[in-house]
Symmetry: D2
């Protein structure tokens, strides 16, 4: 168990869903960066639940309190610690999961790993609620990246069978990323929102849940960051992204579509444009040999259906070691994609900030 990551910018995340507070410490930030708290609050709102019927009705006030590292709104260079007090927690809802683990959740391996001592209320430290500090840290990272001319943005590429357009891998612009990220439901095509909401509602009414895919882009990175062999941009971003609950796949550029592609069709040739070397296409998603190529970074993230569904499910009773049927009573998102977009953006921003600090 390690909730610490980073080489130059080290994030340590703490908290349990129904404990006193959640938060993080960000170590290694540059000093002298003026933080726009409104922007941070906006990012927190993107992730927060209770906005509408596509998300759980839990209304957490994800009010961030900064404990250190910021003086008069400017980073001091000392570790930036932030906490969010937990409120509005209904622990009773989760009582039976102590003995009957939820399928496809962390419950059973966590029970074995921690010998039953872990805080199971709301998933404890494994709760998706722990992505709130990640979003906070990512919001800080995005502001520092902005000063370096780097923009990060993401959108829902698909939910079930409903798809959005994709970013133009080679020519997506910062303003397009900002346009998409500034929405509360992050899609490129305005019309995709209603269709995706309908898709989610369909699964909700069926006591079911649905997965999806998020596409994230990052622009403005210099050529040659990261590196072979084990310090690749891909590997470093993956390690953070797989820290987001429900992420089951990470790919770059064409990703798994490369498997049925041929070199003539997908090799990214070069040209000289305005005196600079540019790729003609960007099927590699901005990473070559583990290093930034100068083209936009394009990363795809596969997200599984929320494992918590209302329908009865087969499980076991860990006390009696007999088969059991589990009915989850709590409040759960039938699809986490709408909220997860900000988390993916945050994770990518944190990873890229770490890489740029070398």
């Amino acid at each position: 168990m390690s909730s610490v990551i980073g080489k130059n910018i080290i994030i340590s995340v703490f908290g349990e869903s129904h404990g006193e507070a959640i938060g993080c410490v960000i170590d290694g930030l540059p000093s002298g960066v003026a933080l726009d708290m409104d922007k941070i609050d906006f990012e927190m709102k993107r992730r927060a639940p209770g906005r509408d019927k596509t998300t759980t009705p839990r209304k957490e006030k994800d009010k961030v309190r900064i404990l250190s590292g910021v003086l008069n709104g400017v980073t001091t260079g000392a570790p930036l610690a932030a906490m969010i007090e937990n409120t509005n927690t209904k622990s009773g809802d989760y009582k039976n999961i102590m003995t009957v683990p939820r399928p496809s959740h962390s419950d059973y391996p966590a029970f074995v790993k921690f010998g039953g001592n872990n805080d199971v209320r709301g998933g404890g430290h494994f709760s998706a609620r722990l992505t709130a500090p990640v979003v906070f840290a990512g919001a800080v990272a995005k502001q520092i990246l902005a000063q370096k001319g780097i923009t990060v943005g993401a959108h829902i590429k698909r939910i079930g069978d409903v798809t959005d357009s994709c970013f133009n891998k080679n020519e997506v612009t910062a303003s397009e990323l900002e346009r998409v990220s500034s929405k509360m439901f992050n899609v490129i095509d305005d019309g995709a929102e209603a269709k995706m909401r309908d898709e989610i509602e369909k699964y909700r009414l069926d006591q079911n849940s649905v997965g999806g895919e998020i596409e994230c882009a990052a622009l403005g990175l210099p050529v040659g960051l990261g590196g072979n062999m084990f310090d690749t941009v891909e590997g470093r971003l993956s390690q953070i992204l797989f820290g987001i609950p429900a992420v089951k796949g990470v790919s770059f550029g064409l990703g798994f579509d490369f498997a049925s592609a041929d070199g003539k069709a997908v090799n990214d040739g070069y040209c000289v444009k305005d005196g600079e070397v540019k790729t003609l296409t960007n099927n590699n998603g901005g990473v070559l040999g583990g290093m930034t190529s100068g083209a936009p970074i394009i990363v795809n993230v596969a997200i599984k259906p929320t494992p918590s569904i209302a329908a009865p499910q087969p499980s076991v009773n860990l006390d009696t070691m007999e088969n059991a049927t589990l009915e989850i009573k709590g409040r759960h998102d039938p699809c986490i994609l709408p909220r997860a977009v900000s988390v993916v953006e945050a994770a990518v921003a944190l990873g890229i900030l770490d890489i740029t600090m070398e």
Copy 2:
């Protein structure tokens, strides 16, 4: 640039394709493990080129010389260093890539990163030849894992449009993994080999190349290894796997198919079997909440078409900063999948060994 990875078992890989030697140091190995050198040699042969027409005709004798860490065939607990002398290198073939970078290769970002000082002959440290020490280290790891009852095996899931069967995610056996890994062309269905060879040949004759996908399984891991948030089995394996040239995507279990799946269909319910908790299915690929669930680990790896193709390609001349056409003369695999299987197996074995040492 860091070619070092691992927390408990730390691998440091060195070498350049046409330099004096390549190799690695493996730090943190347990003492007292008798190494079967024949098994190691077999793994080296699986990766080595020149076996048949699906691979490059370069005939490297990947003869490993162990420099330290082994005494009378048994590990001493001191760092295990191994080297492979480079022979049969034709540096002349690569002369023009110093000024004209190969599309979709590391050449251009490496040129920028290293200011032209990097060894470009054969790709230098970015060459796929550097996977030889990884395979060696993985072969050592597999023998240590075997003593813990853990088996790792992989196969070519598809090349272009030709597919193999998949492992039974929940019930694949160690003997099945061993059967598949013991082949020189690693497929589950014996009949798939000929079809895949034909597919590769088709692209080769067209001066083209083709990508594919590898599926790797690991059996016998105890429940609860790894962990949330940033120490996930998925993240740790990904960081190593993305160190393999041409890998562009990593996913677990259903991977990107989760995006169009629903919870009722894919949640992995539990049952009690022979007094133990088992999952009824294994769509999560053996990892829940970042931890091992007890089910087999199933990881999918997307591999892009070999970027080095014989057909002319658009590039630039970095000296004159003008557009240029590149014709690659060297000897290259039209598809690296047949050789890459052993590398993926090795990377997964190394990652899992590191995780089991906690």
Copy 3:
């Protein structure tokens, strides 16, 4: 700047002397450990100021609030986060140090490093106040170590010219360590306290300060922990110990007295005692080849005189770049040894806990 340390148990310390709060996150703790909060409070009191005239009259209530990682008094295995709200801060006292750096303090290099953005009030993140979270974390570590049969204890070996007895390097007992650690003024000889207090008072009345040395012992470690070359017990403990402000030297066993010693006199021979291998002496301080030898670990820590003295001192005005005379008005310990003992104990306990987790 990194306030993060540890391989298996990772501590991230945050806070600034006059900011909102200080604290830490401890990642990687075992689950199921019942914490005795009274023992933790006692450790916090040992370090806290304002106890008597040997220490600064600032009366901070170092009340620790645990935010996560503990449920019903038992560790959950999730990161343990703790915070201490800052109160009773008189920032006015430190106003002039923004332009006139205090000699032998971090002020000047911190000014250069952080471009004047760091929080200088009370020393900011460089304040000795940041040792409070270290003591908290160490108090937790000591309780976990106690379950493994490991005891850590320290005492003031000398202040200026006044010395205490030393631990018997080879035969010091756990009960002796507990006896010494349970005092509020940690000396072996009861009579040493009054002499040391007199010594400190002498320097205080002279607007001066005085240094000293702390000796710390750890008992009950199994043989063979740690290791050559860069994972030595000595190196790992040093890295934490040098994180304590004012520590300028760390040595083991005879330490610098080895320089004038000869092998015949100081080699630690072996004997068999009760069927076990024991050292006849322990001049090496329990570490051989970087590994634990089974004998008590004996570490010596040199602490410099408090740099903040009331007497006028030569400095510079960083605004005008002219020489200046500094008169420090604040409240400062003329000798930090009485409070620093608990910090050294905590640092050693944290380091040893990390080493034992392998």
Copy 4:
């Protein structure tokens, strides 16, 4: 056991005293640095044995072979691997230490740690011979540091009761460091060499050994490198220095003399000199708050007497678990200080290079 160290420049050391070869991999070096092999050879000679009667008569040809990372004498930016073949090894001399551990050596804890599988011939991986790769890596580091205007040099401060002068802590010059380092017996006062050789000879004739202290200085570092709390210059240098066999103490500036010092006497005041801030004295050894102050770094290293002495010593027979008397037959330095100076310099150079890469 980890023989890997560094954050930006990562060194992995391998080899066993009587194995096939020893060496190291240096990962993260900048590209484009022309290496002067004569300077590297000179450093290797300083450490090599067999120069005269103060050292063991073993005549190892420490001929370094560079395997990767250097092309046409210039670093490529890829990992630099180097190996030294082992020759002239008389393994027979060490046969009885398998059962009778040498006092004050790593033998016994290594036996327990590795279950008897470690290579005990010549101390195996714990041998001081493993400092040869460290000296090589340090020689590379010194050349890179020289390009940044940083000079590192060390001398024997004392051996037994014979002392050399000390560096002027605040005003030592690069040319003085170079003068001292260029000697084969590194002392400041030319006259000290003969006295120290006599002292060593005295102990040798008595079948005994003697310890000493080395002082190392580093000039030219910018202000503000390193940092509080656990990333201190002191802590990082210590972790490397304690990797050198026989090092038992590390201190900075006045070190343990701070214990009896007072603030008025030892505080390092500031002045403006040629428009720059300078310290009036440098009792802190160039480090304040864990950061470089701009004054020379002064580090003191305590080295214990060579544990291998010719006189009979009390030990135990690990087979029979009975007391035993050990007579060491091999060839051993009665004092390692003359050879250890280059190792300390190398370790400090490596640590500082790592710190300057941030």
